[in-house]
Amino acid sequence: MTHGAAITVDGLIHRYGPRTIHDGLGFQVHEGRILGLLGKNGVGKTTLIKILMGFLAPSAGTCRVLGEPSHALSAATKRRIGLVFEGHLAYDFMSIREVERFFSAWYPKWRRDVFHDLIDRLGLPLTHRIRHMSEGQRSQVVLGVVMAQDPDLLILDDYTMGLDAGYRRLFLDYLIHYARAGRKTVLVTSHVVQDMERLVDDVIFLRRGGRVLHTSLADFMATFRHYHLPHEAVPHALPDAGETLHAVEREADGGVSIFAFHDRATVDAALRRQAVDPSALEERAMTLEDAFVGYTGRY
């Protein structure tokens, strides 16, 4: 069930000196939705997340979070936003008990039960200092702090960084349950794209040159397809990607992967127009990670 927009980005432009990172970017994140922001390194993901978190003023355009400009949020609005920074930033000099005492003072809706539910699983005394924790343990404390604030909107910047598979799963399971049960709006980035498949409702793909695709995960996975042409059927010159064929890439075994938002018949016709025999073409199932690499390209 969706309502108004929790995040509205409109005509966003950002430059670092002469280099333009975003040029007229626009999208909305509706309340109650979980959105994954995906893109390869260097496409402006970090810049966008910094702008959304309020730690970078855009060169032009607007970026409103819960109705206010993201770099000039009122105290009341900041209270409704939970941020998880890359690397699970925390006050290293505090113990678990001190972390709770400090943060709970700022948030009237502090959920002690939520915090301790996560913390108890660590099996650590409350006097344990953050600086003596592993990355995984610290991530649990950080997630506990953010969830206990009971925010309406959570923004998580690459929560997977430094986490092993166990802690990543634990983090993700809690986040999914918390966001779904509380109908929270979540914007998340991660280098582990496969996690997004379980978590997000919508995705935004950022590509080089400022190209953006904003769609629901279900629509994307239903319409974006992977076809494979075996090595024997591949001509010397690869078919060109273009209007019908989104991407064409040679595999390590000499075969060719073709990615397209079209059905088999349309792709067959496109290949024939390029003098490629499509009779050996077969459609392959994809995970989100496969689709991400297919959509954004390997290089």
Partner: protein, 222 residues
């Protein structure tokens, strides 16, 4: 706001304990040093040296406040800027100016306690061996050194918070200039007519800390 005091207390208490222990150790040294002078020379000769030649019996105190200010700035601000941890505080439901000024207020209060201890030790030591008139003179002579300590603290905060390396260098140069002014003369009473002006100059450094904090928030944070 009490939560901020709590956080800063947790962060600063080890270094405050060290600074107070250091101040106490220095006070013992200063006391024994002056006492030693009185053991090897006649008191009248030492009064003459202090009164007419302008010999400072407590010159070892001169750079102690400066070092204290630097240590406190580093202990308070460095953990905040490492890995961009200041973003945690900047996202707290409080405006940037009250947040930054509250941090400074806490740092200055902690520094004030140490500097007051320095002055008390000085007054006690001088009062023990010299006539009462020397005590006021010693305190007013040491006050610019205390201001240098405040300038070092504020300059340290300015430089550490600044995300732009060039502005950071400029901040350090300005701070060095203010500290230099505070140590320009070691004569008794040299700053009697300039102390308030110097204090005003040092005070101007406090609101200036808002500028690097703004720059940090608007894109300088890592």
């Amino acid at each position: 706001m009490p939560a901020l005091f709590y956080k800063e207390w947790l962060k600063l208490r080890p270094v405050l304990a060290l600074l107070i222990a250091g101040t106490l150790a220095f006070s013992v040294y200063l006391f024994l040093s002056v006492r030693h002078q009185f053991r090897i020379e006649h008191a009248e000769m030492l009064y003459y040296q202090a009164n007419h030649i302008g010999r400072l019996f407590y010159e070892d105190l001169r750079y102690v406040p400066l070092v204290t200010g630097v240590i406190l700035a580093v202990a308070q601000i460095l953990p905040e800027v490492q890995r961009g941890r200041l973003r945690l505080s900047l996202h707290l439901p409080i405006g940037l100016a009250p947040l930054v000024l509250a941090h400074l207020l806490i740092g200055l209060a902690a520094l004030g306690v140490i500097l007051a201890l320095d002055l008390a030790v000085l007054a006690l030591t001088i009062g023990t061996f010299f006539p009462a008139a020397f005590v006021a003179s010693a305190v007013t002579t040491a006050l610019p050194w205390m201001l240098a300590g405040v300038a070092a603290y504020l300059g340290g905060a300015l430089a550490l918070l600044e995300p732009d390396r060039r502005v950071q260098a400029a901040n350090l140069v300005v701070t060095a200039g203010v500290v230099w002014l505070c140590h320009l003369s070691r004569q008794y009473g040299a700053y009697d007519h300039a102390l308030w002006g110097l204090a005003g100059l040092v005070a101007l450094m406090a609101p200036a800390v808002l500028l690097p904090a703004h720059r940090f928030r608007d894109g300088g944070g890592r």
